[in-house]
Symmetry: C2
Subunit: 329 residues, 2 copies
Amino acid sequence: MKKLINHVDDVLAESLDGFAAAHGDIVSLGEERLFVRRRTTQPGKVALISGGGSGHEPLHAGFVGRGMLDAACPGHVFTSPTPNQMLAAAEAVETGAGVLFIVKNYSGDMMNFQLAADMLDRDHATVIVNDDVAVENSTYTTGRRGVAGTLIVEKIVGAAAERGDNLAALKTLGETVNKATASMGVALTSCTVPAAGQPTFQLGEDEMEMGVGIHGEPGRRRVKLTGADDIAAELTGAILKDLSPRRGQEVILLVNGFGGTPVLELYVMVHAVRKLLADAGVNVMRYLTGAYVTSLDMAGCSVTVTAVDGNTLTLWDAPVHTAALRWGM
Amino acid sequence: MKKLINHVDDVLAESLDGFAAAHGDIVSLGEERLFVRRRTTQPGKVALISGGGSGHEPLHAGFVGRGMLDAACPGHVFTSPTPNQMLAAAEAVETGAGVLFIVKNYSGDMMNFQLAADMLDRDHATVIVNDDVAVENSTYTTGRRGVAGTLIVEKIVGAAAERGDNLAALKTLGETVNKATASMGVALTSCTVPAAGQPTFQLGEDEMEMGVGIHGEPGRRRVKLTGADDIAAELTGAILKDLSPRRGQEVILLVNGFGGTPVLELYVMVHAVRKLLADAGVNVMRYLTGAYVTSLDMAGCSVTVTAVDGNTLTLWDAPVHTAALRWGM
């Protein structure tokens, strides 16, 4: 295992300390590093809280800040944060309008966020993200997994919270955006969890895992490596089958690197996917390209498409100021 | 070789097409993809043009836009662009105030930018970036290599061009920022050039290349893999030896991923480097962390420190709107 780390047990703490120092104008760390919070909260705004296992950076801490999340709870690598973390985060950033939890659909996260919600003595609601169309049920889930589409839900709901939407409206909006979002990924290599010290799974030199999960979970099938156009066709085909967009549908396209994928290749995928979407009569209004929801050092990418309307597109375009997404301010 | 590509010969063209589509609000492609240019130029502003081999994305095309470059010329992977490209770019974006070429110190780039400058019938000047303190002379250079510090030169000079500084002033500023900038990198794995189909160099499972270049050129020495703190100490030590900052010196710190490095690890490095800088009495005013000057899929990182004053820090903070760096608008 080759990693820029000191001791395996200290990776998360040191990384969080570096993150908090580098982005001290936006975030601060909660006590005992239980959560990353927005430096300043806004009274009367619904507090948005997400979280999950680490190893997917910049998700979620990189999306804490004005126009997006109020706090993120980082678990150990690929491990759910504890209810204690979510409760501490909620009590720190809730300002009277309630808490919306945004949770990726993994059994550990679902259970722990539920426990935290049960203990929380404030108004709260939960949006579950399950955008991955690769498989029903999986290693760590009942039902579909939540993957890169999570950031789109967090951005759009974050903007609505910022403009003053109430808790019920935000929950409805989050569920609407989740339903309008579909993703699927492919791995060319495995990731390596620091504490494990070896690759999570084995892939032959000429193989790829089609439909891989963001923890290296199995996807639909293991197949021979093909070209970018063929890969794009399978990912985009599955997404379009799920979303069934009408001709002329406006969408956001996210081509997401898993951590070990060169930017040069991500734009090759953008080129391939946009041709397919154009052929399907789908109109890409906004692009986002980069490593946003990663699997440590895994090579590969995912494609996410979100169908938008005037309201959700305006919310996507609204100003945001986080470590990983920033525009309009 | 596992890459998200179609045919090796089409990688650059397809990636540029994807890039131009994704960032059509900021850039457009020149004819025959000779250059990436800012969609709108500003009459009377000095035109800033950079470029170099591809494989370092988002450098340089990702830094084209308001507040930074006017055009970037992409060569094939790790290969200089041609004088023809630079000349075409200059003629497309020059608006009467002259052209400043920003060139990384590699023999091929130096020769081709010089040939273009000789042919150009407009006022022009050149700033050479050679921030890599790892080695004097190298595989492709006479003198020090230009690496990640290039983006800091491009950002600061870009902001000064935007406020209306003239060609001579921008050349002086660029040279000043270059002198105030020092970088050094480490590789944990090799990169793989698509056309080569195999890793550029071989590293043992317990080895790293200390002082590596951004094309996988040899650095100072090949050593046993150590922890992040030890790596940070060697990189930061070499940088501080070169810059000799006074106590209280204000700096920008860039921790740059080479393309295959998880964000989690980059922030571990931020944490390690900032402690060392604090111990040296150096005051980090701004942080930038991410994969900005890459070597395809190489795992590893570089550290860059730029000493700033009130003027250069203000220029760093000035609004910028490019594909890869965006703030203030």
